[in-house]
């Protein structure tokens, strides 16, 4: 046994799954610790601590609104991104003053969108197909309550052409912006938006729901506060404030961070494509800066994730054998690309060149070994 000082240099390990959850941003950590002692009271009360909590919550809302370029009274905090998706989308059905309750959705939406629609027990919803890159392509039929199209795909990184969607009149647009919020500016077109703080480096348990002024939207769930239709129970004031602090920091840093991440992902795309029988998927250019997905022919996804983890690299996979449902990723299926041997690599804000070098050095050997075991 040798120690690191006299053995060969140990390649740096890396958590490469920021798209599942970004580590807490240092700005969020400082704010959270400071707010924990101050933001405990009920912001609806009229006493001093209540007014203090209200001040912090209003401040969090104002910062989020400013970072997103929306009005503060359009922003509410929910208890998760999933909750923001459910309330946001179903509220468009509940608030629609015209007939029609069906929703069209891109075939590559996050499961939160699909689960919200399944919950309605209606069979009228329409899936819109996507092309090989994962971009929504289908024509949107008229008479729908809403169309749900994400800002960017959470599995393959492809940006959706939201500003070029052909939408019939009176069709509200629900945008799940969870994968891109903070990292990229919002699209121009949306009626309701959802986001999730732990995806940009805020704490878990904070979702953001934005309902544009003038949108026909009504709470589709049991009410809470008659004065604030989109309120969802007692607010986690310190976490909301920390989420806002992280969002501000991410927006301020994003020109530098995005450029660095975009170039690193370009390197990973090229190196993965050079491994025999590996298909790199998603749009190579119009994409999230920090994320790439590829699939390795003849390779078991679970073995791939396990072997990479053994070498210190934490990645996600959309292959069936890695899913709780044992079905392959709907996103990969809808795109018509290989679903087995799938790896999603997503960089954190401080992923280094050396970590990417280490990962790229490990990858071809891991793929080769797993194929050799299968007799190929």
């Amino acid at each position: 046994m040798t120690n690191a000082a006299d053995g060969p240099p140990v390649p740096p390990s890396a958590y490469l799954d920021a798209a599942s959850s970004e580590p807490l941003h240092p700005a969020a950590r400082d704010t959270l610790l400071a707010a924990l002692d101050r933001g405990y009271a009920d912001p609806r009360r009229l006493h001093g601590p209540g007014r203090d909590a209200r001040l912090l919550l209003d401040n969090a809302r104002a910062v989020v609104a400013e970072c997103l370029g929306v009005r503060p009274d359009e922003v509410s905090f929910t208890h998760s991104g999933t909750e923001a998706v459910h309330r946001g989308l179903l509220g468009l059905r509940a608030g629609r003053p015209w007939p029609g309750s069906a929703v069209a959705y891109s075939a590559v939406e996050h499961s939160a969108v699909l689960q919200a629609l399944e919950w309605t027990r209606s069979e009228d919803h329409v899936a819109l197909p996507v092309d090989r890159l994962g971009r929504v392509t289908g024509a949107v039929p008229a008479g729908l309550a809403a169309v749900a199209v994400q800002s960017a795909n959470h599995e393959v990184g492809t940006l959706q052409p939201l500003d070029h969607l052909d939408l019939p009149d009176r069709t509200a647009l629900f945008v799940d912006a969870s994968a891109s919020m903070g990292r990229l500016p919002l699209p121009d077109r949306w009626d309701v938006l959802a986001g999730s703080a732990h995806k940009w480096g805020g704490p878990a348990g904070v979702g953001v729901l934005v309902v544009r002024k003038g949108t026909f939207w009504a709470n589709a769930f049991p009410g809470d506060d008659p004065l604030d239709e989109s309120a969802t129970g007692f607010p986690n004031v310190p976490a909301a404030l920390a989420a806002a602090a992280a969002l501000r920091a991410v927006v301020e840093e994003r020109d530098e961070v995005n450029a660095r991440q975009f170039a690193l992902i370009d390197r990973i795309r090229a190196a993965a494509a050079a491994v025999p029988d590996v298909e790199v998927v998603g749009d190579p250019v119009d994409r999230l800066p920090h994320l790439v997905t590829f699939s390795c022919l003849y390779v078991d996804g679970e073995a791939l994730v396990t072997e990479l983890d053994r070498r210190g690299y934490g990645v996600a996979s959309g292959s069936a054998c890695t899913a709780s449902t044992l079905t392959p990723s709907r996103v990969l299926e809808a795109m018509g690309v290989l679903t087995h041997g799938n790896v999603r690599v997503s960089l954190t804000r401080d992923t280094t060149d050396e970590q990417v070098d280490g990962f790229l050095a490990a990858l071809p050997q891991v793929v080769r070994d797993i194929r050799a075991e299968a007799g190929l």
């Binding site: 029988d277 022919l297 003849y298 392959p328 990969l332 299926e333 018509g336 290989l338 679903t339």
Partner: protein
């Protein structure tokens, strides 16, 4: 459609049906037809994707006598 080679991949999980196809499709001559009968749902996406990646022709899907889907591949090279 009658195939020149029937691969019975019932009960196999991904990626085994595609591994079986990759190992054995050369047993038919160029122009010959291979059928992969698979219960694994991933085969529906992965057999056509294999054809695209390996330059082979995906012909389509039809059910076997027991209702299990057979994915048909024509060897192009």
């Amino acid at each position: 459609m009658i195939a020149d080679l029937e691969l019975d991949c019932r009960g196999m999980l991904c990626p085994l049906p595609v591994i079986e196809l990759g190992k054995r499709y050369t047993e038919v001559p160029v122009g010959g037809l291979v059928a992969v009968a698979a219960t694994d749902v991933a085969a529906r996406t992965d057999v056509p994707a294999w054809c695209r990646m390996r330059g082979q022709e995906y012909v389509g899907e039809e059910p076997a006598a027991d209702g299990v889907p057979r994915y048909l591949v024509r060897r192009a090279s």
